[in-house]
Amino acid sequence: MSNSQPIEVLFFASLCEQTGRDSATLDASLAATVADVWQQLCPTLDMPVNTLMAVNQINAKADSAVAGGDEVAFFPPVTGG
């Protein structure tokens, strides 16, 4: 877990439209948790309620730790049927 590598960030489906991007990289020194990643990349947008989060394709929570080289992904909540 080296902080020299950036964090790779993905926004899925309608979160791309809401955040204005589908992917980003973030200097790992700027974020210790998943919530920090969102805050750094979307400082003016609150994370929607029940947004799903994953670190390296494993379900994560806002306070889950992140490090350089990790892939952090955000997915919109879906309830419709």
Binding site: L10, A13, P48, V49, N59, F75, P77, T79, G81
Partner: protein
């Protein structure tokens, strides 16, 4: 006992000659065979919602030969439903969705039993219906129902095939409370009234519900036939970009629904 319906392949086969022919494209699959088809025939599946997801899910469960399908929905058919809810037709407008749906399912397969509940199930009725089902297929359209269905399935250890679709995005996973390691819906989503969105305010791409609802029938058929289902894997579909992603789910040790009670 001689009967025109008694197949002569094996004495223990509980499928008629007509059924053996009808399901021959199933039974010739090595993962399936006659045994799995008999399991489907003996199975009872609860489908919650006869709308966008429930339409393809119930249609494929019926055509695949699930012996008893219980459909629950309290809505009536509206013109704006017809864009994607393929169980219903123009002549069904204003009818109860479960009545319209039952007619469609029986037209496809008169060998199966279709039971209808013209209500949004909750409370004791939901618990009873979930406990008596071999698989529950959640095709509902709101968080409140989804949390209630999840709690009922965890309590009765009934496998739950859960999918959702809105706009151009869909999700599907399987929760199987018979498996001690399986997460539940509440491990994934925190209970909250906020963030409520539905297809009537957000819109939804018609074939997207076909994709997700058909996948629900697929997972249900795999569970019933003794094949492995997508437990612990959340599949997420971006219809506009035709892109799938997958995330691994694990049980939340602090989950208020499925975590074992602390002594």
């Amino acid at each position: 006992m001689e009967s025109p319906n008694t197949p002569y392949t094996l004495a223990i086969v509980n499928l008629s000659n007509q059924e053996l022919l009808r399901y021959s494209r199933h039974t010739m699959l090595p993962q399936f065979g006659i045994k799995a088809q008999e399991k489907l025939k003996n199975a009872r599946v609860l489908v919650l919602g006869a709308g966008g997801l429930g339409s393809p899910a119930a249609l494929f469960l019926a055509s695949a030969g699930v012996g008893t399908i219980v459909l629950a929905d309290g809505d009536t058919v509206e013109l704006s439903n017809l864009q994607r809810q393929v169980l219903h037709g123009e002549s069904d407008i204003s009818r109860a969705k479960v009545d319209s749906a039952a007619d469609s399912l029986r037209a496809i397969n008169s060998d199966i039993q279709v039971e209808t509940i013209n209500a949004r199930l909750d409370g004791e009725a939901l618990s009873t219906a979930a406990a008596s089902a071999d698989v529950v297929v959640d095709c509902s359209d709101n968080f409140a129902t989804r949390f209630a269905v999840n709690a009922a399935c965890v309590a009765s250890r009934t496998p739950l095939v859960s999918a959702a679709a809105i706009r151009g995005e869909g999700q599907i996973t399987v929760f199987d409370s018979r498996d001690a390691a399986s997460p539940c819906y509440r491990c994934l989503y925190a209970e909250a009234e906020a963030g409520q969105e539905n297809c009537s305010t957000q819109g939804v791409l018609a074939p997207l519900v076909g994709v997700m609802g058909s996948l629900q029938a697929l997972e249900a058929v795999k569970i019933l036939s003794g094949n492995a289902a997508a437990v612990g894997r959340l599949l997420l579909f971006d219809a506009w970009n035709t892109q799938w992603r997958e995330i691994r789910l694990s049980r939340d040790p602090a989950c208020p629904v499925c975590a074992p009670p602390t002594p």
